[in-house]
């Protein structure tokens, strides 16, 4: 083997070795890399019990109840399979609205209510002018015909 192909081997081995190590490390840390749990995972008891964690999902339409004279707000989060009730006191981000994807940080109380101390809005990867979004909505409402929407 000449010098050049020995160096080629060395580079290939480095890439291979580091890739394997990374895959193993990422698999081991998988749980910690999960930025948030879904309502289904909480129902199945996968979420941690005694420390705070994040839950992500869509705000259920018509579930947002604001308390008068305070910033407290209650709403339901869903991943279209399970529902988790959430309570939060504070200022909500601009994108918070019914049907919107959000991520809340907090912990579960004994009754299964998620007490959040931070609420972040998640937005989707779709970008379009408001008129197009309106037209899509109208088409969706009117008979739910055509192609299924993906978001």
């Amino acid at each position: 083997m000449n010098k050049r192909s020995r160096r080629k081997m060395l580079v290939a081995m480095v890439i291979f070795g580091v890739s394997i190590a990374t895959v193993l490390a990422l698999t081991a840390f998988d749980e910690n890399l999960l930025y948030f749990y879904s309502p289904t995972q909480i129902h199945e008891g996968e979420a941690p019990q005694n420390r705070s964690f994040r839950v992500g999902g869509l705000v259920v339409d018509g579930s947002v109840r604001r308390e008068e004279n305070s910033l407290a707000v209650q709403f339901d989060l869903t991943d279209n399979a399970a529902v988790v009730p959430v309570t939060y006191t504070g200022i909500l981000p601009d994108l918070f609205r019914e049907g919107q994807g959000i991520v809340a940080m907090g912990r579960l109380d004994a009754s299964g209510l998620f007490v959040a101390d931070e609420v972040l809005a998640k937005h989707d990867e779709n970008y379009m002018p408001p008129e197009v979004a309106d037209a899509l909505n109208t088409a969706h409402e009117a008979g739910k015909s055509g192609q299924p929407t993906t978001y």
């Binding site: 160096r7 480095v14 890439i15 990374t22 379009m128 008129e131 993906t150």
Partner: protein, 245 residues
């Protein structure tokens, strides 16, 4: 074939050729960049959810794409330098690192400024943001190794190896939004599906991406010329160049 590569990759030949190439990248970069920004900031319609704030995408996304692209250029050049010991490849890798770091920094800052109004926070430790921050540190590590090792060949070897090792981070950044639940949304353009973006927004975005690429090409040539001159400062062709002045 081998002789041919040797001739075209000689620093002297590169120094002469690149001078003619630079304007062919720099001028289109400026023209397309200004036109793309104009389309993006004034002509493109507002977004249905984010209103006008989404317009930072025309800087944020091209900068983020370039942060990955420049890293790949740097790592491949470093690999070529390591295996075939072509000095020009090491020059290109060394010249690329600060540019890539700047693009990464720009992507992180614009993302942070975008995150505050939309998500409600400047920073979260989700997989996408964290892996992009690691990319910035990889660039810094490369630059630190380059400048801290006295012997240029040893410096190229050590920093080149770091650049190659860091390549594993590139697919992690790209797929982080698919592999894990992240606050950052999924891919809009860079996916096999049709882009989830209205055509009037997509065109300025792609123009800006092209402008950023051309800008990089022009800047990396300028920087690589300087680097080649500096590294060969004791060789005859540089001496002759100086005497001519």
């Amino acid at each position: 074939m081998w002789n041919w590569i040797q001739k075209f990759s000689s620093p002297k030949y590169f120094y002469d050729m690149s001078a003619k190439l630079i304007p062919w990248f720099a001028i289109p970069a400026l023209v397309i960049g200004v036109y793309g920004l104009y389309l993006g900031l004034f002509v493109a319609p507002p977004d249905y959810q984010q209103g006008e704030s989404y317009r930072i995408i025309f800087i944020h996304v091209p900068a983020a794409w370039m942060s990955l692209f420049v890293y790949m250029v740097m790592a491949i050049s470093a690999g070529i330098g390591l295996i075939w010991q072509i000095r020009l490849a090491d020059v290109v890798a060394a010249a690329s690192a600060p540019i890539g770091a700047s693009f990464t920094f720009l992507a992180l800052v614009t993302g942070s400024l975008w995150g505050k109004p939309m998500w409600g926070t400047y920073w979260v430790w989700d997989a996408r943001l964290t892996s992009e921050l690691i990319l910035l540190f990889l660039y810094f590590g490369y630059m630190a190794l380059q400048s801290s090792i006295e012997d240029q060949r040893q410096a190229d070897k050590a920093s080149g190896l770091l650049a190659i090792v860091g390549v594993v981070n590139i697919p992690i950044i790209h797929y982080s939004v698919e592999w894990w639940n992240t606050l950052h949304q999924g891919a809009t353009v860079a996916k096999f599906d049709k882009p989830s973006m209205h055509i009037d927004m997509l065109i300025p975005l792609l123009l800006m991406a092209l402008a950023f690429k051309l800008f990089y090409a022009a800047v990396v040539l300028v920087r690589a010329r300087n680097e080649a001159l500096y590294r060969d400062r004791n060789r005859r062709w540089v001496r002759e160049l100086i005497e001519k002045i």
